[in-house]
Structure formats: structure tokens, C-alpha cells
């Protein structure tokens, strides 16, 4: 059973992929409401997972710095590191 950190990272990864694929479609069909709904749904899902991850496990990117007194980015593991590499 994967831990929550891995589950959240997977969800973000899966949502980002779906968003990318939908964006390619939207590039040539910019007014397709079904596609826009799809994008909206996965965009919300992705942001929810990302916010949960950042709150519990630290920044996903350096842009996630939110004013703490310490630069959390250097506290490992980085998002791309597997848990056992910690």
C-alpha cells in the first residue's frame, strides 16, 4: 500500500498528463465546451492534490514558497525522489 505522499504525487502526475492531453485538443478546438469542462474538472482535481501535498510535504516547486521563515525547498526529499531515497 502506497503512502499518502506517493498517492498524492501520482494523482498530480496523472492529472497533469490528462490536462496536457486535453490542452493539445483544446489548442485546435478552443470552443469545445465538453473539453473545457473536462479541463476544468481535472484542473481542480490537480490543484486540490497539489495544495494537499504542499501543505503536508513541502513545496512541489520553488514557486510554492509562501513566506515561511525557512526555505523548505532544501528539506528533502524533493518531489521527484522516491520515498526510499530519503
Amino acid at each position: 500500500m502506497a503512502d499518502e505522499r506517493t498517492v498524492l504525487l501520482n494523482r498530480i502526475q496523472v492529472c497533469d498528463f490528462a490536462l496536457n492531453d486535453a490542452a493539445l485538443y483544446l489548442d485546435i478546438n478552443p470552443d469545445d465546451q465538453t473539453a473545457l469542462e473536462y479541463f476544468k474538472k481535472y484542473s481542480a482535481m490537480r490543484n486540490e492534490a497539489a495544495n494537499m501535498f504542499v501543505a503536508k510535504y513541502g513545496p512541489l516547486t520553488r514557486a510554492d514558497y509562501s513566506g515561511e521563515g525557512s526555505w523548505k525547498w532544501v528539506d528533502g526529499p524533493w518531489p521527484w525522489q522516491k520515498q526510499e531515497e530519503k
Partner: protein, 155 residues
Amino acid sequence: MDYKKQDLYQMAGQAQGGWKQVSPSMSGERRMAAPTMEPPAGIVAEPAAIPPSAMENNATPNISIQPLDIPSVEIPSVPSVPPIGTFPPMEILPPTGSMPPEENPCGFCLTPAMSYTPMQKWGETYESEQGFHRGTIFPELDLPFVPEGGMNHGR
């Protein structure tokens, strides 16, 4: 090959013989329109430029480029080179070998040796997990071209 030339091919297929020249403004209007049997407005016949032999058998015009060192030899059957910026005379493609509009989903005459890609329409999508593992969220684009016959043996 750009649209204008493609349009010319398309209209050439409808023209049922004879040489046609198209005004440049035609090409935009003709892009996705289904062809009609009547030549669209703007196509004008140019009888003066048509060798009678080409009219009869749709043969490839015998256009040859004169080497520079040969003094000009008058060959009556060679069409004159059009000024730059105008469409050259086109070979009229025979209708045989083309796919008529009613037999294809594109709605216009498909000529051989040209490729066509229909626009994608949003349909069913995979669940996001499945799409992630298939490499696409669109089942219609999930086309694993797995080589058969030995390329991937032993992997």
C-alpha cells in the same frame, strides 16, 4: 504542397478534361467545400493555351526546359511559360483512381498520393489513470503500433 495547389488538384478532378486556370482568390473559399459538378465561378477556360492533344486524352503536357546553349528551336506543342505569380497550366488528373466525395468522409475528391487527416472530435475519454498508462486520454488515438515478426522479440 499548399492549399492552393491542393485545391487545383481537387478542381482539376472535377474539370472533366481541358485546361483550367483559377484566380488566386478562389483557393480560400474552396478549402473545405464539397465540390459540385459544375465548375465554380472564377474558373475560366483558356482555350488559347490548350494544346488540342491535351484536351483529348488528358496526357501529361510535354513541358521541356530548353538548354541555354541551344538557340531557340520552335516547338509548336510546348505551352508558353506563365509569368511568375500566376498558376502554371496543370495536368488534368483523370477521375479514375480518385475517391469521389460520396465515398469518403472528407466531402471532397480525394486524389491518390496525398494524405488527409480528419479533425478530431471530442468523444469518450479514458479514466485518467488508464489514460496515463496508455499515453493518451483519447481511445481513438490509442494506437499501439506493435511491430510483428521479430523486432521486439526477446524484450
